[in-house]
C-alpha cells in the first residue's frame, strides 16, 4: 500500500508527530480501515526518506494509543477498534485549554484565577443542565 503521507520540514513539529497525525486522519476518514495492513517501518522510511527510528517512534506511539497493532515479524495493521474519536476530542480539548490559558495570561490573570474561572464555567454548565432537567420534569 502506498502511504501518500507527506512530511513538511518547515512544519516546526517533530516529524514523528506529523506521521502520527496523518495516519490517524486516514483512519478517521475511513481510508484505512480496521485490519488493514499499513506500510512496514522500513518501507515507510524509504518512501518518506525519513530515518527508520523516526517511523519506529511514530508507530510505537500509535500503538500505545491503540490506533495500530504491531506483530513481531508480521508488520502493522490498523487496530480492530482504533478508538480514535475520544482521542481526537481529548486533543482538541487540550488545544482549547491552551488557548484559554494564553488568553488569561494576556489579561494578566494568575493560573489560580484561570482555574477558578474554568470551575465557574463548569458550574454554569451544571446549573444549566439542572434547570433543564427541572424544566422537563415540570412539563411532564
Amino acid at each position: 500500500m502506498h502511504s501518500d503521507i507527506v512530511i513538511s520540514q518547515s512544519d516546526g513539529r517533530p516529524m514523528y508527530l506529523q506521521i502520527m497525525e496523518q495516519v490517524k486522519q486516514r483512519v478517521a476518514v475511513g481510508e484505512w480501515a480496521p485490519g488493514d495492513e499499513i506500510p512496514s517501518i522500513r518501507q515507510l522510511a524509504m518512501d518518506l526518506r525519513v530515518s527508520v527510528i523516526t517511523i519506529k517512534r511514530a508507530y510505537l506511539e500509535l500503538e500505545r494509543e491503540g490506533v495500530i497493532l504491531t506483530q513481531q515479524g508480521k508488520g502493522s495493521i490498523i487496530a480492530p477498534n482504533p478508538g480514535l474519536s475520544p482521542h481526537v476530542y481529548h486533543a482538541e480539548l487540550s488545544e482549547r485549554l491552551d488557548e484559554v490559558v494564553r488568553l488569561g495570561d494576556l489579561l494578566g490573570l494568575s493560573s489560580d484565577e484561570i482555574a477558578r474561572r474554568t470551575k465557574e464555567a463548569a458550574n454554569r454548565l451544571n446549573e444549566a443542565r439542572l434547570n433543564e432537567a427541572g424544566f422537563t420534569k415540570e412539563i411532564v
Binding site: 514523528y16 524509504m46 526518506r49 527508520v52 527510528i53 523516526t54 495570561d105
Partner: protein, 298 residues
C-alpha cells in the same frame, strides 16, 4: 556476529596541530549514523581511521568484526567508501569503471548498477572528465552502491549537490536500509540531511566527540524556554541549561535535559513560561559546540 558494524574504543591520533582524543563510537548494524562537525573538527580523520587509511596511535577499532588497521584488506571487501577527494580516471568512462570493479567485488550487482545509472541520470558512455561535480559524486556513489557493501561510509556525500541530486542520493541511501543488515555512516555539515535520514547522530568538535545519541532523543531533550520574570525576579535554576540569552525580564534558556514538568516548576518559581520551542538539529549542534567551547575556556 556483532550488533555493531563499527566500534571505536578510546581511539586517539596526534598530529602537530590537531589531535583526535579518546574517540568512542558505536554504530548499530542496520542503522544510519550522521556524523556532524565543523570543518576541521576531525570527521575525515575519524573516517580515515575507520577505513584503515590512517593508523591510530592508541585504542581499538573494529569494523564488521575486523580489527583495523590490521584486517583492512578483508574489511574493505565489505565497505563502500565515497569521499570528496575520491578520484575516478578522467580519461575513462563510467562504464569502464563499472567493468573494472565488477571482477574485484564478488557481490557486484550489474542490474542494480545500470538501474542506478538511469535513476541518477548518468550516461555510462560519458568520460569522467566531462562530468559536473554532482555527476561525479553520483558516479562514485553508484560504484560504491553496486558492490552491495554491508557498510557504506560516505564523507560529505551531499556537499555541493543541487537539490534534485541531493534528493536522489538521499533516496538511494534510504533504499539501502531496506535491508536490515546494512549500515551507513555519513559525515556532513548539512544538518538538514542528517536530521532527515539519520537514526543515530554524533557531534564532533575539535577532535572530540561531544555528544552521540538516538536522533529522537536529541530532538526531545533539547528545548528553548522563553520566560517572563516578575519585576526583581531571578532566572530559575533548571537542569541542563547550557545557555541563557534574552534580556533582563525576558530570559531565553536553552536546556539539553528538557522534561514537560519543567514548565510547572518554572511557574512555581514565579517565572511564566511563554513558549517552549523545539530546536532544529542545526540549532542543537551550534548550542552544543558553543557551550562546550565556553566550558573549556572558562
Amino acid at each position: 556476529m556483532s550488533d555493531f558494524s563499527v566500534q571505536f574504543e578510546g581511539v586517539s591520533k596526534r598530529y602537530t596541530h590537531f589531535s583526535l582524543e579518546n574517540i568512542h563510537l558505536e554504530l548499530p548494524t542496520g542503522s544510519i549514523m550522521g556524523f556532524i562537525g565543523a570543518n576541521g573538527a576531525g570527521k575525515s580523520t575519524t573516517i580515515r581511521i575507520l577505513m584503515g587509511l590512517v593508523h591510530q596511535d592508541t585504542g581499538t577499532v573494529r569494523v564488521l568484526g575486523h580489527s583495523m588497521p590490521g584486517d583492512q584488506a578483508a574489511a574493505k571487501l565489505d565497505i563502500g567508501f565515497v569521499s570528496e577527494d575520491m578520484r575516478l580516471y578522467g580519461a575513462a568512462t563510467l562504464k569502464w569503471h563499472m567493468d573494472f570493479m565488477r571482477p574485484i567485488y564478488p557481490r557486484w550487482d550489474q542490474t542494480y548498477a545500470e538501474e542506478l545509472a538511469r535513476r541518477f541520470d548518468l550516461k555510462p558512455q560519458q568520460k569522467i572528465k566531462g562530468l559536473s561535480h554532482g555527476q561525479r559524486v553520483k558516479s562514485a556513489l553508484l560504484l560504491a552502491l553496486a558492490r552491495r557493501p554491508r557498510l557504506l561510509v560516505l564523507d560529505e556525500p551531499t556537499t555541493g549537490l543541487d537539490p534534485v541530486a541531493r534528493m536522489e542520493v538521499l533516496s538511494e541511501l534510504m533504499a539501502v536500509l531496506a535491508d536490515e543488515d546494512r549500515t551507513i555512516l555519513f559525515s556532513s555539515h548539512n544538518t538538514l540531511d542528517v536530521e532527515q535520514i539519520s537514526d543515530q547522530i554524533t557531534f564532533i568538535d575539535r577532535g572530540r566527540i561531544i555528544d552521540s545519541d538516538d536522533k529522537e532523543v536529541f530532538l526531545d531533550r533539547w528545548r528553548r524556554l522563553r520566560l517572563v520574570l516578575p519585576p526583581d525576579g531571578v532566572v530559575p535554576r533548571l537542569p541542563g541549561v547550557v545557555e541563557v540569552g534574552g534580556s533582563g525580564r525576558l530570559p531565553v534558556l536553552t536546556t539539553n535535559r528538557f522534561e514537560p514538568a519543567m514548565v510547572s516548576a518554572c511557574n512555581d518559581l514565579g517565572a511564566t513560561v511563554q513558549a517552549v520551542d523545539t530546536m532544529t538539529l542545526e540549532e542543537i549542534f551550534v548550542a552544543n559546540v558553543h557551550s562546550r567551547r565556553e566550558r573549556l575556556t572558562a
